[in-house]
């Protein structure tokens, strides 16, 4: 999937250039570029970092393609030098948003296809069909990426699927590219090793690090009292209390929820009646495996509201439920006060 890009395109999508070439740029200094050019590149690199912090998005600037291209790896070096994990995350996102805004305006379907194949490393077919189905990729590759999007149009059932391929419109592909770009930049930042960056930029990085300390971990701030549990989880708990037998899915929902808000395996197990016929009842083993893999390769997160709805176990209220897509967010947004008017 090697592609030849013009400098103007590389400036837009700088991560497409060879990794080796980029490496040279990390310890770029004045001797190689000349002071004027160097300071332009350095300033733009700083701007990319500042944009990340202020706007969570880097604005594209194509006035000087060379500067735009070279400042990208330099900005990466600055981010790395701050040693801030969350800044790395936001930088990857901000750059990905820049890429997305450029691709939205891009008419050249071949270029879009190339960018996708380059960031995703997945074979893409151009169909030359109508615009809703201009591109197609293997369904498993699609699923791997699309399950992170929650709008129902991303559900496989709402995409044309035939003979192992999923068909996509340009805007789908662009959205996938954004996600892939973010992931890729973040990964590259993580694996980047830099011995030194120019002193002036090092000072800038230190200043950024001082001003933007890492936020507290989510695990540290979570503690939710039972009245604040979402209606679906409450319902499952009530069933257990009343000696009823919640369906398998409800047990899964409740267990993942409680584990995710920080309850221990033992806390959760005490909620279940003792009898254990293996197929239907969540035993210690099952709770442990839902908990034990948290954060591991296979993550049991709380099923989304959409999934809960599809299992007919949603008991939504009008206070917090309308604003959330996953029970885990219940009670953490501001409540809905006024009745929202729906257009029929």
């Amino acid at each position: 999937m090697n592609i030849q890009l013009a400098e103007a395109d590389l400036a837009k999508y700088p991560f497409l250039s060879q990794a080796g070439e980029q490496a040279k740029v990390y310890d770029l200094d004045i001797t190689e570029l000349g002071p004027d050019q160097y300071s332009l590149v350095a300033e733009r690199a700083k701007e990319r970092v500042v944009d990340t912090i202020r706007k969570r998005k880097v604005e594209a600037n194509l006035d000087n393609p060379g500067v735009e291209l070279l400042s990208f790896p330099l900005a990466m070096a600055i981010v790395k030098a701050t040693k801030l994990e969350h800044l790395a995350f936001y930088f990857a996102l901000a750059e990905a948003l820049r890429v997305e805004s450029l691709l939205v305006k891009e008419d050249n379907a071949n270029l879009i296809a190339d960018v996708f194949q380059n960031v995703a490393k997945v074979k893409l077919i151009k169909t030359y069909d109508d615009e809703k189905t201009s591109f197609a990729i293997n369904f498993a590759e699609y699923l791997k990426r699309a399950t992170q999007f929650h709008e129902p149009e991303w559900n496989l059932i709402n995409r044309p699927v035939s003979n192992g391929l999923v068909y996509l419109a340009k805007h789908h592909l662009v959205r996938l590219i954004r996600a892939e770009t973010q992931r890729m930049i973040y990964q590259r930042l993580k694996s980047l090793t830099i011995t030194k960056i120019p002193p002036q930029l090092e000072a800038f990085a230190q200043e950024i690090a001082l001003k933007n300390p890492p936020p507290p971990k989510v695990e540290d701030i979570i503690s939710i009292s039972p009245e604040r549990y979402p209606p679906c989880v409450k319902h499952a708990l009530d069933m257990l209390k009343n000696g009823q037998d919640p369906p398998h899915f409800a047990r899964f929902l409740m267990t993942t929820y409680l584990l995710n808000i920080g309850k221990s395996v033992d806390d959760v197990i005490t909620l279940f009646p003792r009898a254990a016929d293996f197929n239907e009842r969540i035993t210690r083993y099952q709770v442990e495996h839902l908990a034990g893999l948290k954060g591991g390769k296979v993550k049991y997160s709380v099923p989304s509201c959409k999934t809960v709805v599809s299992h007919s176990f949603c008991f939504r209220d009008n206070i917090y439920c309308p604003r959330i897509t996953n029970p885990i967010w219940y009670g953490r947004t501001s409540p809905v006060v006024k009745k929202v008017k729906k257009n029929a």
């Binding site: 129902p152 496989l156 059932i157 709402n158 034990g292």
Partner: protein
């Protein structure tokens, strides 16, 4: 000590495994899988691993359990506790259970018994016993030709979707009789298995079950003119879900389409587009897609740590074999997987709907002693409906 009935069951299984150990189908990549078994009169034992097929067969024949299972998942350390196993990838499997199909025969043969007052009722168990109010109720699910036939139909639908929509080659799709109430299907395509993580499997299961379809997917959009709608509505020859829905509404009766009887899918959809408001239209289309979809048990497909009954082993509730099916069309669930002996046993039957095994009709029985061949006696004892007399 096992009670006489349980020990008779175990004895029957044991003899079978000793005589027919060759029937056990050894799974691929045996060293990477977790195994488990459920002994008669005991609780489930898991997290076992075996190095060779010989070891595995010997263990099965020795223990003669009422169920033998292996993981669909492949692990780095299959015998470790779940958190330390290290999931690599897993078989993609589907389960269709006659019990989920709500066939009309359910009321005829399904029964429930209140644990407290022993009251017996027909069909699915109520939330609590109408007689004494107790909530501890034992459900007896039964499968007859009719409901297993319905389950087979679902397998045909599943094969169709996997082949046409997902592009899986037929030779990579293997169907099994589950040994009791339904069918299993596994997809032996390494590329698919390796790529699909748990969330992808959830999404795929929803697709197959027909969950979550949007009106706009079927081209229905209130902003469109009549002509535009005509262009966007699906026709029967469309691929994927558009065509599936179109074919379903042409081939099935719905009172909603009465005014457009005998017309094509587009006309029918135009009709309901005109007569139904957005929410009820959405619900109605969802109802259609659920019906056109396959009644798979989603928890089986999406639980990547599931252990699954091993092909070639016996089901403890029936004595029938979980069996690989070569010709689905001709497969007879009350003949082909009947593998136990004909030796006669005298049992006391509490209750039994009529049933057929190897072409011989039995029952109905109610509180009576009967002499039955081992196959039929085990079938009833496994379900808790009969005891050694």
């Amino acid at each position: 000590m096992l009670d006489p009935t349980t020990s008779a069951l175990r004895q029957a299984f044991k003899e079978h495994y000793f005589r027919h150990s060759d029937r056990i189908e050894i799974p691929s990549r045996i060293q990477e899988r977790e195994f488990g078994y459920w002994p008669f009169g005991g609780t489930m034992i898991r997290h076992l691993s075996f190095k060779t097929s010989g070891e595995l067969i010997v263990a099965i024949a020795r223990k003669a359990p009422k169920g033998v299972y292996y993981s669909c998942g492949y692990y780095h350390e299959p015998a470790q506790p779940m958190a330390e196993k290290g999931w690599k990838s897993g078989d993609l499997v589907f389960d269709i259970d006659a019990d989920d199909l709500e066939s009309s025969c359910k009321d005829e043969h399904d029964r429930w018994t209140c644990r407290k007052c022993q009251h017996v009722g027909k069909g699915n168990r109520p939330g609590k016993c109408p007689k004494c109010g107790n909530t501890r109720i034992i459900q007896l699910n039964w499968a007859c030709y009719n409901c297993l036939g319905a389950a087979k139909e679902e397998i045909f639908k599943l094969l169709d979707i996997l082949e046409k929509d997902f592009g899986v080659e037929r030779k990579r799709l293997q169907t099994y009789f589950s040994g009791n109430m339904g069918y299993h299907l596994s997809v032996n395509d390494p590329e698919i298995m390796e790529t699909l993580d748990q969330e992808s499997r959830v999404e795929m299961a929803d697709y197959i079950a027909g969950i979550g379809i949007l009106p706009s997917t079927l081209g229905i959009d209130s902003h469109l003119s009549y002509q535009e709608l005509g262009m966007k509505l699906p026709s029967e020859s469309d691929s994927g879900w558009r065509g599936r829905v179109a074919r379903y509404i042409v081939n099935h009766e719905f009172k909603e389409f009465d005014e457009a009887k005998n017309l094509d899918a587009k006309s029918k959809l135009l009709l309901i587009h005109r007569t139904k408001r957005h929410d009820s239209l959405k619900k109605f289309l969802e109802k259609i897609s659920r019906a056109a979809g396959v009644a798979i048990d989603p928890s089986v497909t999406t639980d990547i740590h599931r252990i699954f009954r091993m092909p070639g082993t016996l089901h403890g509730e029936s004595g029938l074999e979980k069996m690989k099916i070569e010709n689905l069309e001709e497969f007879d669930p009350f003949v082909d997987p009947v593998v136990l002996k004909d030796e006669e046993i005298k049992v006391f039957v509490k209750h039994s709907p009529p049933f057929t095994l190897r072409g011989v009709k039995y029952g109905p029985y109610s509180k009576q002693e009967v002499v039955l061949p081992e196959t039929a006696a085990v079938y009833l004892m496994g379900k808790g409906l009969a005891q050694i007399a």
